[in-house]
């Protein structure tokens, strides 16, 4: 049986259709990442699965429970790291782990949780005195204190410095290896690529792609050609200048020109031929395999310029 089963899930907030017909399964022990731009409906989906929101229609089963009933046995088996949720500022880290941990049937010891989340040194400090990243670790600690079978992580590493992020990744990998199912939402493509067994891409409340990260990358069968925009060409003219040479949609961000192309050899030949002819140096010219970020940008590109009134409530 799947740990999470979602069938044709819809959620309307008045006229706003935040989630429109999403279906997916998460297998036991799997780390599944939901990716998508702000307002794509990620948090709405996750909060329905956690039991914090009711679906407008569709079927949802989580660990065999109907989450909308929010039964005690259900809440005992899940761990929830919400996107933004306060912790008692006037209590120490140790105190909040004790009080929240005491609600569960099977709990991890406070010492173990402190060690797993790297909070040993902060154990006796009040939550209110911690930095943003440290507080996020307290969130993570409270998510795992009840030894969940299924852990929901809504953008768990936002605000982390690189080393804290690496520590969180190690923890999530360790939990995954130990059989915990993880449903993750994230903005960080490298996070999904690194952690997730499978990725679902949400845009405007619909699942537009779903596969393993490597299969998604292979699926776009492209190569990324990029270079610095030459001084002599204004950013506004970049698309007009390079579009015909590259023969693929050109992305310009700052002075970086980028395109995902099918046949990189001939594109590079045309580009370099043009550059030599014009006596222009194409600084930083590189040809790389597409990353999950390219997949994501390609999938969500036309949506990003869609009707702004369709933006969902994240």
């Amino acid at each position: 049986m799947a740990a999470i089963e979602v069938r044709d899930l819809h959620k309307h907030y008045g006229d706003n259709h935040a989630v429109r017909g999403v279906s997916f399964d998460v297998r036991p022990g799997e780390v599944y990442a939901l990716l998508g731009p702000n307002g794509a409906g990620k948090t709405t989906v996750v909060e329905i699965l956690e039991g914090h929101r009711a679906a407008t229609s569709g079927e949802v089963s989580v660990l065999g429970f109907d989450p909308s009933k929010a039964e005690r046995d259900f809440r005992d088996r899940i761990g929830v790291v919400l996107q933004s949720s306060g912790v008692e500022n006037e209590f120490t880290v140790r105190e909040v782990l004790e009080i929240y941990g005491s609600a569960y049937r099977t709990r991890r010891s406070t010492e173990e949780v402190l060690q797993l989340t790297g909070l040993e040194a902060k154990a006796d400090e009040r939550v209110g005195s911690l930095s943003g990243g440290q507080r996020r670790r307290v969130d993570l600690a409270l998510g795992i204190v009840g030894t969940p079978d299924l852990l929901f992580l809504d953008e768990p590493t936002t605000g982390f410095d690189p080393s804290a992020r690496r520590l969180a990744w190690d923890l999530i990998e360790e939990l995954g290896a130990g059989g915990t199912t993880v449903l993750l939402t994230t903005h960080y493509l490298d996070e999904a690529e690194h952690l997730a067994d499978r990725v679902g891409v949400l845009a405007h409340g619909a699942l537009i792609a779903e596969d393993t990260p490597s299969a998604l990358i292979d699926g776009i069968s492209g190569t990324v050609v990029s270079f610095q925009l030459p001084e002599s060409i204004a950013p506004g003219d970049a698309v007009a200048t390079f579009g015909p040479l590259i023969d693929a949609p050109v992305r310009v961000s700052g002075r970086l020109v980028e395109a995902t192309v099918e046949h990189s050899t001939s594109v590079v030949q045309r580009l370099t031929g043009w550059a030599v002819e014009q006596d222009i140096e194409l600084a930083g010219l590189s040809v790389t395999r597409a990353s999950l970020e390219d997949v994501y940008l390609q999938l969500t590109d036309h949506d990003a310029h869609g009707d702004p009134t369709q933006e969902g409530t994240a």
Partner: protein, 278 residues
């Protein structure tokens, strides 16, 4: 699989947690416990030699103040404390976090309400003790059961009204204003700070609300000119009825999640809506 912790241990832990929380927030401690004590000391220093007329007899105002301010402390610890604190916890997402754990929701509420009732009793007993020690408060033992029952009915009703208030307040930024706007003007006409004329218009208004009946019922338990057991069943029934109404509103409307900012109303919002739909 281990069993869940027992309900008794969960409620006890929640009460201890809420009390710890309370004592670590200086502003809550100040307004709930310390301010009424300061008022007791100041009022007695300023007006202590005056008397109030009760049933044709002259009652020392020291005793009037102690009973009234003690009852007001009980209201502060329940109604004002819950009304101020819970919207903040809700906006911070702490209520939602608890809602994600297997803690039965009723035990959270029992801890919250139970702790405020304990605070109310502690504050009231402290005031009564000060009154007896320094301000000639007459403690007649045959009236103490009535004092206890009156206090119990009062704190239960005002805790329920606090929960009702929480369920209609949208955001924490408005909670302090709403709490004070509802309780302070009422306190001025409810024999807490000053004695009001028994026949006046203000008295009629005050008697529509539960504060004055509660304050008077409690004061009577310490009033040597009131005979008998000190029980005031009509006043207690009236206070209890308000409490039940409060509980019903709270049960119907209480939410664990912030509801966001209140929607804009009024001309500008309507014009914007009309333009949007045009």
């Amino acid at each position: 699989m281990n069993p869940y912790p027992t309900d008794v241990s969960l409620v006890a832990r929640q009460i201890r947690y809420q009390l710890t929380y309370f004592f670590r927030i200086p502003v809550a401690l100040f307004f709930t416990i310390i301010l009424p004590i300061v008022m007791l000391v100041l009022f007695n220093a300023i007006f202590g030699d005056n008397t109030v007329s009760v049933n044709g007899a002259e009652w020392p105002i020291r005793q009037f103040y102690t009973g009234g301010l003690a009852a007001f402390t009980a209201v502060s610890a329940t109604y004002s404390n819950i009304g101020n604190m819970v919207p903040i916890r809700r906006d911070e997402g702490i209520l939602k976090r608890w809602r994600s754990t297997p803690l039965p929701t009723w035990t959270y509420l029992a801890g919250l309400i139970g702790s405020s009732i304990i605070l109310a009793f502690a504050g009231t007993i402290l005031m009564i003790t000060m009154g007896a020690a320094f301000y000639d408060l007459s403690i007649e033992w045959q009236k103490m059961p009535a004092a206890f029952v009156t206090l119990l009915v009062g704190v239960a009703a005002f805790a329920a009204l606090g929960m009702a208030l929480v369920s209609v307040i949208k955001t924490a930024s408005s909670s302090a204003a709403v709490v004070n706007a509802t309780i302070l003007p009422l306190a001025f006409i409810s024999d807490v700070f000053v004695s009001t004329d028994d026949d006046g218009f203000l008295n009629t208004v005050a008697n529509l609300f539960p504060l004055k009946p509660f304050v008077n019922a409690f004061q009577d338990c310490f009033n040597p000119f009131v005979d008998g057991s000190g029980f005031a069943p009509d006043k207690l029934a009236f206070v209890a009825a308000w409490g039940v109404a409060g509980a019903l509103v709270a049960i119907k409307r209480f939410t664990w999640e912030p509801s966001g900012a209140a929607p804009r109303r009024g001309r500008r919002a309507r014009r914007a809506a009309a333009e949007a739909s045009a």
